[in-house]
């Protein structure tokens, strides 16, 4: 048994430690996910004006600040009792703002945080055993995805064209975010009852032109066919089967065109998404398309015990057909629906009462069983000697609590969202994997879902900007500040990386008595719970192989691409998984806590 530790898993936000035990065949047999930072964030709101959370919560994460301000403003709309009367123009403005940040996040994740792993030298070694085809695939991977300051065996590698190309896209998406949101990161315009700014006709033009540049990038870099054609045949397909058939047929055409010449270049029709779709999956690449090689990412993170995993989405993006929204049960009235799905794809309506947490394996004093967030107790270790994660058998090993939904650990993020909203391509791919004896829940489908969501949200944002945003509309309603006395509010939304909830309780001075945030990364990177059940990422690592392409060239413990791919496929964000603490124990249950 070999212990392989990745610490820190870089290219995520904040310090994440993934500790594994690996057998002599290179299979991961045990895994622990440790959040290595403690910031005590939510405590700063106590006794303060609840509105501070709109701006200060964004400082939890500079990659998805808008999601935090959306969750906060939803909680405040609820707190002040104005959620039902937010004008639809304000809802459109919020959707645009939030959507721009989601697009920007997904581009950042795919190209800057995750993509460089495709340029891992292990793939060069594997691909070089596959002759001209292998060489040309490796050339494409390096030429597109190599990061800056990159070297292999001492030789400097120029940064990849996609890596370099996405930075200006990130920049202009933030420019558009500033047009509608004041500045980025950490924008300023969310406010209970609406937004603070009035977009102008010129703002609409600026944002439209930026979105058309983004579409140009997607067309030139991400996909080999026009964006509209892709969206029209997948997201807008009449059935999941039609969407999956289109996907496979498109890859077939490309493969047939290219196999004789070994030309997988962009000019021959291979966008980044097609390249990864054909080469990333054993089922699609080798079994369906007949390629001699694949990265086998679909054999990673299959969740070997399907009774111990679920998929959760709070639902997101307001329906802009009418004013106001329902803050606590968004099931049918959002562009993306809320819900809980079992691993056998059984859909259940989301009920926030079913969310609980345990601290048995976290650096906090224990309590019995699991508790709903409102009843949570959090007593952190303040003795440095007790903060020890080196002993693999130690009970306590992380600052994250373990969130559960009816006792089930849940994966959250684009894959869960698209599954729950029954998006045709993802639903069709899940069916395809199941029909062929593969687990549909894997690192490959998770990444395809993120890219597919990038296209879908891009499509919607363009509509919100060009069709729905009315510069002559109403962008706010007045708020009665006294409504915040002895009140409470719940704000839920979907951050780019998954379900995000803010809960606020106020006292009779309309000041914050408790503020709670449960983040997506707390769900995905959860430790074991009171029953000893691992969180999604821990579960996903167990059974995965440690080295590239299913240990194709043998086991290399010192380059654990398996851990890197599985870990990064969740788009982890550690600084989001922050906790507040109750050092005094004087606060009543529910006054503390959190992730």
């Amino acid at each position: 048994m070999v212990r392989v530790t990745v610490d820190p898993l870089t290219r995520v936000v904040g310090p994440l430690r993934l500790d594994t035990e690996v057998d002599e065949n290179g299979i991961i047999t045990e895994a622990r996910s440790s959040n290595m930072i403690f910031r005590g964030f939510e405590r700063i709101y106590r006794g303060q004006d609840p509105r501070d959370s709109i701006l200060l919560s964004q400082r939890i994460c500079g990659v998805c600040p808008v999601a935090h301000s959306i969750a906060a403003v939803n909680a405040l709309d609820d707190l002040y009792g104005v959620a039902g009367s937010v004008p639809k123009d304000a809802l459109v403005a919020r959707n645009i703002n939030h959507g721009l940040n989601t697009i920007s996040n997904h581009l950042l994740h795919f190209y800057i945080l995750w993509g460089p792993d495709l340029a891992n030298p292990a793939y060069g070694n594997v691909l070089s055993t596959f002759g001209n085809l292998g060489s040309s695939v490796w050339k494409e991977f390096l030429g597109r995805f190599a990061p800056i300051s990159y070297k292999i065996d001492g030789e400097a590698i120029p940064p990849g064209s996609s890596y370099v190309g996405v930075i200006p896209m990130k920049k202009i998406l933030h420019d558009a975010g500033a047009v509608i949101g004041g500045k980025m990161p950490h924008q300023t315009v969310m406010y209970p009852g609406g937004v603070t700014n009035n977009p102008t006709a010129s703002d609409v033009q600026t944002m439209s032109s930026i979105m058309s540049e983004v579409v140009d990038f997607l067309n030139a870099t991400s996909i080999g066919i026009p964006f509209e054609e892709w969206v029209g045949n997948t997201y807008m397909a009449s059935s999941p089967k039609k969407a999956a058939d289109f996907f496979i047929e498109h890859l077939h055409e490309l493969t047939e065109r290219s196999l004789r010449t070994n030309d997988l270049s962009r000019s021959n029709g291979w966008g980044d998404l097609e390249l990864y779709s054909a080469l990333g999956s054993e089922l699609i690449g080798e079994k369906i398309l007949g390629l001699p090689i694949s990265l086998k990412h679909d054999k990673m993170s299959g969740y070997n015990d399907l009774s111990k995993i679920g998929f959760l989405s709070y639902g997101d993006f307001y329906n802009v057909e009418h004013e106001g929204y329902e803050p606590t049960s968004p099931a049918g009235d959002r562009f993306q629906t809320s819900g809980f799905m079992t691993s056998s794809l059984e859909y259940h309506k989301f009920d926030s009462d079913k969310v609980t947490e345990s601290v048995k394996h976290s650096f906090y004093d224990d309590y019995e069983g699991d508790k709903h967030p409102y009843e949570g107790v959090t007593e952190p270790f303040t003795d440095p000697d007790r903060i020890d994660y080196q002993d693999f058998s130690a009970e306590k090993y992380t600052w994250s609590k373990a969130p559960r939904y009816e006792g089930i650990p849940c994966e959250v993020g684009p894959f869960s969202r698209l599954l729950i909203m029954k998006e045709p391509l993802v639903t069709g791919l899940v069916q395809l994997f199941q029909d062929n004896g593969y687990s549909p829940f894997n690192s490959f489908t998770r990444m395809i879902a993120r890219m597919q969501e990038l296209f879908i949200i891009t499509n919607e944002v363009i509509q919100w900007i060009t069709t729905d945003l009315d510069p002559n509309g109403r962008f706010r309603v007045d708020v009665d500040m006294s409504a915040a006395e002895d009140s409470r509010g719940m704000g839920i939304c979907e951050a780019p990386r998954g379900a995000l909830g803010h809960w606020v309780i106020t006292d009779n001075d309309a000041k914050v008595a408790n503020y709670q945030i449960v983040t997506p990364s707390a769900w995905n990177l959860s430790p074991r719970d009171s029953e000893g059940v691992p969180g999604p990422l821990e579960h996903a690592l167990i059974g995965s192989t440690i080295s590239a392409v299913d240990n194709w060239l043998g086991v290399d413990f010192s380059n654990p691409t398996g851990i890197l791919h599985v870990g990064r496929s969740y788009d982890p964000c550690i600084t989001c998984a922050v906790h507040t603490i109750d050092l005094t124990g004087k606060n009543p249950p529910g006054m503390v806590r959190l992730l």
Binding site: V2, V4, T5, V6, P8, L9, T10, R11, V13, G14, P15, M36, I37, F38, R39, G40, R43, I44, R46, D49, R51, D52, L55, L56, R59, C61, G62, L113, P121, S149, K151, D153, G154, P159, V164, I167, K171, H174, D175, A178, V179, G181, G182, K183, M184, H186, Q187, T196, T206, T382, P384, I387, Y389, R476, S558, N559, P560, T575, L583, T584
Partner: protein, 356 residues
């Protein structure tokens, strides 16, 4: 580059901007419409831009990656262009590069090409680099630094390793400069005990360097997040040699270690505010969405020493007050406590009373 962009009061050398006083800076900006220092330098001296390589070591403590995100938004010039012009070799960065911490049976594994911890040790042994720090450094609990661990070491140990042989430390963002949001007032703030590089809030005796007994020149570029121009133009002034380290620092930095040209002691965001006439006429908004002065909505622009209202954000598209939101003075050492409650003018009154 247009002639107007050359600051006539500065012998045609507008590259020397860190030493400009605020009024000259404003004049240069206003005349040029943009502040293309790097390009203008290249145009003036086309043969003289072959700077020797500058190695940059970037480490992250308790932060949100907003500073790195902001740096990616650089417009004038774009980030990679600026790195190319300035010949910056970004050796290590937790968010962008290929490496990660790798251990097999507890021992560091692989090589520095893939292992960020071996790389950190190698670079810091070699010396001769600028250390850029993003995020606050944990000292808690009880001086252990264990509230932030990375690569089998506390952020305090990581910072010590990286700082010891640095030529210069640039604290990027309010967290690294002064502790930022990690030091926001609460009943647990003392136990958390997060520190800035050379200051914690306004107190230089509580900076992490002082605690570790390390003496290094430091430039603070605060902001939550900092404007990318502030970071890139500061690097360009140092790399060009126009600001000598450490000799020129007392002249170009203010009492909190900030470049005076971006964070002018005698100038604030309020003085450039497009809504200033409403303040002069005592016309105040008391709810959001109006066009008048936001003082009564808690605006802190008169306490914020920065050039946001002129420079604006994200390629000049907007800034907080323009979007109808009060300035929260995120460049100040006591952010966010200085501005709380964010949407209330009561704090202003209290502060005025306290000052008297």
């Amino acid at each position: 580059m247009s002639e107007e962009n050359i600051n006539s009061d500065n012998s045609g050398n507008d590259f020397d901007f860190l030493r400009m006083d605020w009024h000259k800076f404003l004049k240069a900006r206003k005349a040029g419409g943009g502040f293309k220092l790097l390009e203008s330098y290249l145009n003036d001296d086309p043969g003289d831009h072959d700077f020797p390589e500058t190695r940059v070591l970037w480490i992250q403590g308790a932060q949100c990656t907003g500073c790195s995100e902001s740096l990616l938004d650089a417009s004038n010039p774009a980030l990679l262009k600026a790195f190319e012009i300035l010949n910056i070799d970004l050796k290590r960065h937790e968010a962008f590069l290929a490496h990660q911490g790798l251990f097999v049976d507890g021992e560091p594994a692989n090589t520095s090409e893939l292992n960020s911890e071996i790389l950190l040790d190698e670079i810091s042994e070699q010396g001769n680099y600028i250390l850029m720090v993003e995020g606050a450094i944990a000292n808690g609990p009880h001086g252990s630094g264990k509230y932030f661990m990375s690569g089998n070491r506390s952020s305090k140990e990581m910072f010590k390793k990286a700082a010891r042989n640095a030529d210069l430390i640039i604290a990027v963002g309010t967290c690294a400069a002064y502790g930022g949001i990690n030091t926001a007032g609460s009943d647990i703030v003392d136990i958390l005990d997060y520190r800035g590089v050379a200051f914690t809030k306004k107190d230089p005796s509580k900076g992490m360097l002082k605690l570790l007994g390390i003496d290094k020149p430091v430039i603070n570029i605060p902001g939550c997040p900092p404007h990318p121009d502030w970071i890139i133009y500061t690097l360009s002034a140092i790399i060009s040699g126009n600001v000598k380290i450490p000799d020129d620092l007392p002249e170009v930095l203010d009492e909190f270690g900030r470049p005076k040209v971006f964070f002018p002691p005698d100038h604030n965001v309020h003085k450039d505010c497009p809504r200033k006439k409403f303040f002069d006429n005592k016309e105040f908004d008391t709810c959001v969405g109006g066009e008048k002065c936001l003082l009564r909505m808690g605006c802190q622009a008169f306490l914020a020493h920065a050039d946001c209202a002129l420079r604006k954000w994200n390629d000049g598209h907007s800034y907080c007050v323009q979007a109808g939101s009060p300035c929260i003075a995120c460049v100040e050492p006591d952010f966010p406590d200085n501005a709380r409650p964010l949407y209330s003018s009561k704090k202003n009154r209290k502060r005025k009373e306290a000052d008297q």
